[in-house]
Amino acid sequence: MDLGRQESQDEGNRFWREEREEGAVYMVYLKRVTYRSHDRLEEGEKFMSHLMWETLKVRVIKAGTLERLVECMETCQGDLDSSHLNVFLSTYRTFATPEQVLKTLINRFIMLKSCAKDDDRKEMVEEQLKTIRSVISIWLDTHPDDFREHPDYPCLLDLEDFAKEHITDSDLGVRARHRLEKFQKEAKTLEESIEEMHLGGRHGLNGDKIILFNQISNRSVAEQLTFKDAELFRKVVPHHCLGAVWSRRRKKGGKNASSVVATIQQFNNVSLRVIATVLNTRGMKTSQRAKILQRWIEIAQELRDLKNFSSLRAIISGLQTHPVYRLRKTWAALPKNIMVLFTELSEIFSNENNQITSRELLMKEATAKFPDIESQNKTLQRRNLLKRQSWIENGIVQGTVPYLGTFLTDLTMIDTAFPDITDDNLINFEKHRKEFEVIAQLKLLQSAAQIYQIVKDENFWTWFYSVNVYTDTESHDLSCTIEPPSDSNAKIKKKSARSLPVFRSRAGSVPNRYPVFSTCLGHRPVKFDSAKFALFSCGLENRKSMSSIPDTLSTLAAPIMTHHSSTSSVVSSDSDNPSSPFRSSDTYVIRVSVNSTSDSDTHVYKSIMLTNTDHTHTVISKVLEKYCMEGKPEDYRLLQILEDGELLIPERANVFYALNNSSELNFVIKSREDYETSTLKRQKKRRFKKLSL
């Protein structure tokens, strides 16, 4: 048809009905097609120009026998239905072997060829035969490994015979032969290389000097892990991830999913090394151990820059395993910005809302040139900006490696939710269409993983495999020798509180503890996951989730909290954390509201972190900045709200010491005039009282 076809977007396809035939069920959609008149319409076709649109029937196979599914590779005009072919080739291994599919194709070809003598259908049949040839050719090109059947290669041999006999006018037979020879050659080299590895592998270990962890730069660690992850990910055979293969691998007749296993092994290897390097430090000082934590967090950041979500997640998970995570003292020794970095990186993998954060991030960055790193922290923001600039200037393009687990879970769930076979005993192709949506994403990412240009560094891998890793129990025991378990927790806390002056004297060199941190380690996982810097951006909704807040506002806050995840969860998982997140040894988080006018009932406040060096003016400036207010700190007064009134914090005071810490840390700032008028009023009132008395 020479008419310009244009599918109107808003109409789309509308489901009309199901059609059943022998061996197949179709879904029939009505598709409205709008025609644009073409200038180059010929005279004879002019009568057609009044045809503005028409409704076409589109049939999509829902379930069918293998023969029917193969037939559907041809459209009703006899040409190739490439989208059906794509779905079929990506998923057929769950219901048929390559040999069965090839046989079905060949049988159909021979059957159609015998019909070609019939004059009426000649043209159609010619088209169909051409389609079958393209199907085989595309299959051979896009899924060559389907034909890698060492040592006999029955499919390739069958294909060669078939081509010789029936397709004499093309090179299909020759290509099959070439493929066969290539596979045989590759199998031979593989065998040889395995032998070599057995002989040479040990030699390498003995000969090379093993380098130490601290001799490798963070960047190299990240690059080498990415090299490995990208290589393994590219090798993942997409159909190995399908539920029918992966999640049923242990069952009778379960298939091999070695490419997936290899990826998981590497993931676990990375986590285990994180745990081992942190715990294998018994003789070390806490600060030295903290340095190792810091290194892994910095490596994680490098992996984020490289868009390697697999090792990134492996490291974050390793750091969050109980034996490492429970080392409170070690974590407490981390600089503040490293702790912020860790929190931000771990938030990527929050399980909240079906991992929406990591899903969205992956989709956004899958094919982007470089990552779009965000941070709430100013220092980090600046650093990211610089990085970005250098990427642009140097024309750097990063590949992507995703965390495979999300795909495995999604495909397992699809496999569970939809049956393989319909009630009529047909192959449920609708299921495979759903699976293909996930597989298509995986394939897209696999092509993105090819972009990396990293060279393997044997030294790194010698180190990597030389690390002595621990079992779960060993890790736990080691962790407990480093920091004794919970019954002595209370003592530790008191101790560290008493040793406060020591910290303070070094306040310049040891940055202030980050209060979210105590939240992280104090078994407050939910908070930790969901609230982004809750303590710094405390709005109403967070008020609800903090246990130490007065109850007056609970009714007001209740409607907001539904999504921001449960107070209850915080409280419940919090049974063993008596310390308030608001108070750590040398920082407080205070809540400050602004007294605008007489309406002192305002419930809006901002949380401010207060360190032991903050003076009144610093605090007021912070508050003004938070509320986006202009003005000089000198024009405002800071008051602590006490149960029995307000406490004016003197202008030159160190707020940290000046405040009344036996009460709630609620503050208000008032403009100088407001403060003075209100105090005047009060004084007058008092005078009145005195007079009336």
């Binding site: 296993v261 998970s317 109980h322 399980n351 879970t409 996982p525 109850d551 449960s566």
Partner: protein, 184 residues
């Protein structure tokens, strides 16, 4: 509405995913999409209160061992699932429970022992009494289920919510009392 974070744990192949899908989707399985934001959220009524359950199912990622601790940290209640047709899946739960207690650092964690696939009576190798004994040992609830035959699926989730409520009663009623007192 109070939100509950429930984690479904157990070896591969015990039918965890089937329980989850059956519970969140019920009869509408055909519309199921595992990739969207609220695929694993479901609202239920327990003891007259509306509850929002967010279910974390680790199906397909059992072998990513380092991730388990984080799942456990995040969960408030746990379904420990085994298959009545596979003894090894039953034996695996002992370690899993110990890991939960270690991560949670308490002996009292809301959990329910679930013997799945009870429709496959012919293939049963783990007796119901074995399950009940282990539950007594664990000091937790116990039910046999069948995702396929839709037996006890809703029950395990709702029972778990009750256990979580027992351990951590909701704070709101307390507040009401408090404010009442203030009024008086």
């Amino acid at each position: 509405m109070r939100e509950y974070k429930i984690v479904v744990l157990g070896s591969g192949g015990v039918g965890k995913s089937a329980l989850t899908v059956q519970f969140v989707q019920g009869i509408f399985v055909e519309k199921y999409d595992p990739t969207i934001e609220d695929s694993y959220r479901k609202q239920v009524e327990v003891n007259g209160c509306q509850c929002m359950l967010e279910i974390l199912d680790t199906a397909g990622t059992e072998q990513f061992t380092a991730m388990r601790d984080l799942y456990m940290k995040n969960g408030q209640g746990f379904l420990l699932v085994y298959s009545i047709t596979a003894q090894s899946t039953f034996n695996d739960l002992q370690d899993l429970r110990e890991q939960i207690l270690r991560v949670k650092d308490t002996e009292d964690v809301p959990m329910i022992l679930v013997g799945n696939k009870c429709d496959l009576e012919d293939e049963r190798v783990v007796g119901k009494d074995q399950g009940a004994n282990l539950a007594r040992n664990f000091n937790c609830g116990f039910l046999e289920t069948s995702a396929k035959a839709k037996v006890n699926v809703g029950e395990i989730f709702c029972d778990l919510v009750r256990l979580i409520n027992q351990k951590n009663p909701e704070k709101v009623p307390k507040r009401k009392k408090k404010s009442n007192c203030a009024l008086l």
